[in-house]
Structure formats: C-alpha cells, structure tokens
Amino acid sequence: MTGDDGHRTADRDGAARWYDDAAGPVVRPYAMTRGRTRSADGSELDLIAVVIADEALAGPSGAHVLADRTLSPEHLDIVEVSRTRPQSVAELAAGLDLPVGVVRVLVGDLVDAGFVRVTRPVPPAELPDETVLRDVIDALRAL
C-alpha cells in the first residue's frame, strides 16, 4: 500500500509465506505423505477399519520392515503400534497424534508394501442377526 521497496520484496518472495507459523503444521503432514492425500488404490480407509500388522514385522518377501528405506518414522510407528494390538485408523491417529488423513495415506503405503492388512468394518445392516448387538448391550451393562 505504501509502495516502498520492502513491501514489494515481500510480495515477490511469496514462497517465504509458506514457512510462517501458520503454514508450518499445514505443510508438514503432506510432506510426510509425499504430497499424496489418498492411498494408492484411491480408496479412503474407514475411520474404524482395523489395522493388523504382521507378527514378524515382515513384508511378503520376508524382508523386515526396518529394511524398507522408503518408509518414514511415522510408518514404522504405525506398524509397531498395530502389532502390539490391532487397532482402528482413528485410534492410530489419536494415539500417534497425527491427522486422520495422514494416517490413511501411511496405512495405504503399508498395505501396498504388505506390512499390514486392514479389515473393512461391517456396517450394522450387514450383520447376520441381532446377536452381536445383544452382546453389546450386555457388555455395556457389565462395564
């Protein structure tokens, strides 16, 4: 607005804006997922899809997960945590303090590499009968 050199320099150097305080946390997750926001097969993993890691932390070729140099520390965290106990995408995100979208992509990578598998949640409409829901009620009462 003042037209002085300082202003124009700042405007020309637009890239610098992406490294300010506000941009920091926005940029990082996407760098972690190599700019992708969807997994390789294009599907979105359900929030309550359960992730199960291979017991031996090995992929289909038998190679250990640590030998895979393409994986980030966050990938390894997911493998480790879901090997301890199978858990949902939402739990992984909450437990590792990562945004859901990031966890989706990372899990997608791990599925592609064969280090984890994912169960699709059963929508209530696909349950064979009420038995499970009666069990839910009993278990809730017993809590």
């Binding site: 405007d11 637009g14 929030l47 199978p86 909450a94 945004p99 499970v132 809730l140």
Partner: protein, 199 residues
Amino acid sequence: MTPTRTDPVPLALKLLVAGGFGVGKTTLVGAVSEIRPLRTEETLTEAGRPVDDLAGVEAKRTTTVAMDFGRITLRDDLVLYLFGTPGQDRFWFLWDELAQGALGAVVLADTRRLADCFAAVDYFERRGIAFTLAVNCFDGADRYPESDVRDALDLDPGVPVVMCDARERESVKHVLVSVVEHAIATGVVGHRDTPQTLA
C-alpha cells in the same frame, strides 16, 4: 499377506454423539471411555479476510478440526467407538463420513436451549439413523416431563427420551444401551438394501 497372528481382530462398531454447543458431549464420551482428541485436516475457503492480509496467498487454507473420540472395549473381539461430532455448522460435511455405517447416535439436549439440537435430530431422522434423545440434566435447569421434550422436538413416538447426567458413568451407560436397543428395534440389522424406517 498371510495372517499369522492368533489374537482376535475385533469387530468394530461406532456410535455418534451430537448436540449443541457446550451441551456436554465431551463430558459424556469421557464418562465411559478413555477420551482422546482426533484430528482431521480439512480445506476451508476463508472468506472475509482483508485483501491486504492475503496478498497473493491462496485464500484456501487447511484447518484442523478436533473431534472427541473414545474407545470402549466390550470384549476381546468387540469394540465400540464413540465419535463426538464437531459442533460448528461449517463442519457438517464431516458428519456424513462419521454417519456412514454408524450403529446409532446420541443427541444430547439441554432443556434451557432445546433448539440447539434441532439440527442433529433432523440430520439423523433424514438418514434413518437410530438415535436416543438424552436430556443432560444440568444443575439449576428446570426438569421438564419427557412428553414436553418430545413435543417440543416433534420426535417420532419410537425415539427414546432419556434423562441423564453426562458426568455419570452409569447414566451414560444407560443412554448407550438405549441407543443400541433402539437400533435393534428399528431393524438396523440385516436390512442391507431396504431403507431403514422408524417403527
């Protein structure tokens, strides 16, 4: 990958917890589960910021939406997840994903501000998702008979109305049981291709 492990992979079910601002959603989830914030990042278009401020920066920004999230381990092989729906109107689109495949929902209401839960009631009614209307009985709020609440919200006769204290585990358990019972009663199971209707 060949499954090599022996411990059971749990069947996962989810319930949603909705209601107006400050009605006790976080309190309710925390009363029955270990609660943790769940972050999603959403792209929002930012309107109304002074042009001087934006100068050349894309007006779209990614914003973090935090939701309440709780896990209840019912059995080795059975887990119930609770998701508190984000309260602000601009996050309605997030509900659609949460509602997909949900077993049912709790709509929390405060009798001093009943209108705040209209939107949630309407949302679940339209989608045929079983819900229980839980009246959070805050200290100092007048107690209304159930029928008044039902009338004011124009609820279907089958919708359970339960008085609760969101801070009390037993009370919240009762609310959740009511949702699951209602889901069973409305035929949530085994009606894959038929739209759910309230009995």
